[in-house]
Symmetry: C2
Subunit: 325 residues, 2 copies
């Protein structure tokens, strides 16, 4: 039986990150666009894997990182995502459960392997990702369980899901069920290329009732096809009741109708790896929102969580975030 | 065809480390002896895995870490060890090859999974290990290739191999072949419990012609069943022409017949995870020795490599060690 009340349920691509450091030149050599996420097929991921140096494997996946951050902050959470019945699938399931997250999605048998994302970290701490979706492509509406959605104060969806038809259906079902049970839905736009691929769908979704929208500056500009943040903010205020726009070291801007709140980023001694910065900002924001905090406090919690994650390799917290807030 | 001349060939248990942080109390609760390595069966590793928090997977294995350190210092190296044809086996093979090491041991099919070592890192940076040997147990004499041994200036063997009969035979074959080709052999005692299990065998091996012996203080005391380092040093001087005894933050002592050389450790700003400290000391020492450096310089190289490895999580170098020496 699912828990009666859960702060946040996340649905996303369940991925194990393969993190390797490379010099800047490596990106150009292999046609990688710095800071972005590129989808590759199995041959593509194997070929890139052959070229990178020694790596570290850590559970990842954008919404999964966010959800692990919610429990680390002391919240309760549930995750829906598809891994294969293989060793990396076991690693993913172990890590998210060990973080205190309910994870009940059945493992995929006789299909593609668990998804992997090769994360190239350059000396400036920026990350460039190449993702093989593997088993994630088989996430479907049957994996979305009505009782779980009904139990969650907020259902959080990642834009990346839109890349596969089954997962998109799962996403739609979850959004509908959240509406039916008068629960909130949150969406992250995930990546500016992802926005470019699905601009119209995302705009309809947002206008049809996304309660909280997460985007970074590049994503919100891409969504509204403008180069002016002010214009994008004006546009999003009409489409969505609450939008949190992250601006890296410049903090975040929260747009709620005519009210605009700017919140500073947390100082970080050394940026080691920016992987997960946006994901963990969402952890803090969602945790705060589920506990009825004012938006400035939600954003502050987001910046504290993001500051922890960028101070080390990997996109899962290494200390209990609740000890930091 | 194997390379004509290689600095060091290492033979060991090919293991993927599963690293998790825990408070000190966790060790007592689960009967783990701090700082040691415990062998567990498949049920044992799965049961412990259920209890640890979120983890990071990084290629490990004592001799494999040493060998990866040798190439990171600019040396040439070859590794012999058994992984299964599974995802963790692919991770291990990728990482060691990406480190520039020749690794030609065939993958095990239809047998146990690739070995895993759960490494519990306590807040003081100490590590406590529980190892499931899995596919390693199937390393055998057929995996030791005469041309590879003949090509290596030094063949480096890990004491842990003694834990499995097949691997012990592989070890013996390698030592004999090195002798036949007038190459040097080096042995690390690996762990004081390991010494306790195989004291007589290790003593015969050393007396029969190990050229370089690596041990930490606890291991050398256990080998000679004494509580006096001075007595152990006197004893080892008779049994072996060159012994390097590591003493954590107190540096190392090199015993070569009647000559004793003390070398200081390298200062480290913060000890994050001591996993691999001994392994990387051996990297530096072996690299220096293969390049005919005096023992004090060999030891200094060892301390530089060890200092890098304990300043981060995981037992494989994160920067090119040659840039540090």
């Amino acid at each position: 039986m699912p828990q009666k009340n859960v702060d946040v349920l996340g649905i996303g691509n369940a991925i194990v990150d393969v993190i390797a450091r490379q010099e800047e030149a490596f990106l150009g050599l292999h046609g990688l666009d710095k800071g972005s996420m590129l989808l590759v097929d199995e041959d593509g991921i194997l070929s890139l894997y052959d070229k990178i140096g020694p790596a570290t494997e850590i559970s990842g996946g954008s919404a999964a990182n966010t959800i692990a951050g919610v429990t680390s902050l002391g919240g309760s959470a549930c995750y829906v995502g598809k891994v294969a019945a293989d060793q990396l699938g076991e690693v993913f399931a172990h890590d998210i459960r060990a973080a205190g997250v309910a994870f009940n999605t059945p493992f995929l048998k006789d299909g593609p392997q668990t998804a992997r994302c090769i994360v190239i970290v350059t000396p400036d701490g920026q990350r460039t990702m190449s993702t093989y979706l593997g088993a994630c492509a088989m996430l479907g509406p049957d994996d979305v369980v009505e009782e779980e959605i009904a139990a969650a104060r907020i259902t959080y969806l990642e834009g990346y899901l839109w890349d596969r038809p089954n997962a998109k259906e799962a996403f739609r079902k979850a959004a509908q069920l959240a509406g039916k049970h008068k629960r909130q839905t949150a969406l992250t736009l995930s990546d500016s290329f992802c926005v470019d691929r699905y601009r119209e769908s995302f705009l309809s979704l947002i206008r049809d009732g996304v309660d909280i929208l997460f985007a970074n500056e590049a994503e919100i500009l891409s969504l509204y096809e403008t180069s002016s943040l002010q214009q994008a903010m004006t546009a999003v205020a009409k489409d969505c009741s609450l939008a949190a726009i992250t601006r890296s070291e410049r903090g975040s801007v929260i747009v709620a109708g005519s009210s605009v709140t700017e919140v500073s980023a947390q100082p970080v001694a050394q940026v080691v790896d920016t992987t997960g910065a946006g994901d963990l900002y969402a952890s803090g924001f969602l945790f705060g929102h589920a506990h009825d905090k004012p938006v400035a406090e939600c954003a502050r919690l987001g910046h504290v969580a993001a500051a922890e994650i960028i101070s080390h390799i990997g996109a899962r917290p290494q200390v209990e975030l609740k000890s930091l807030v």
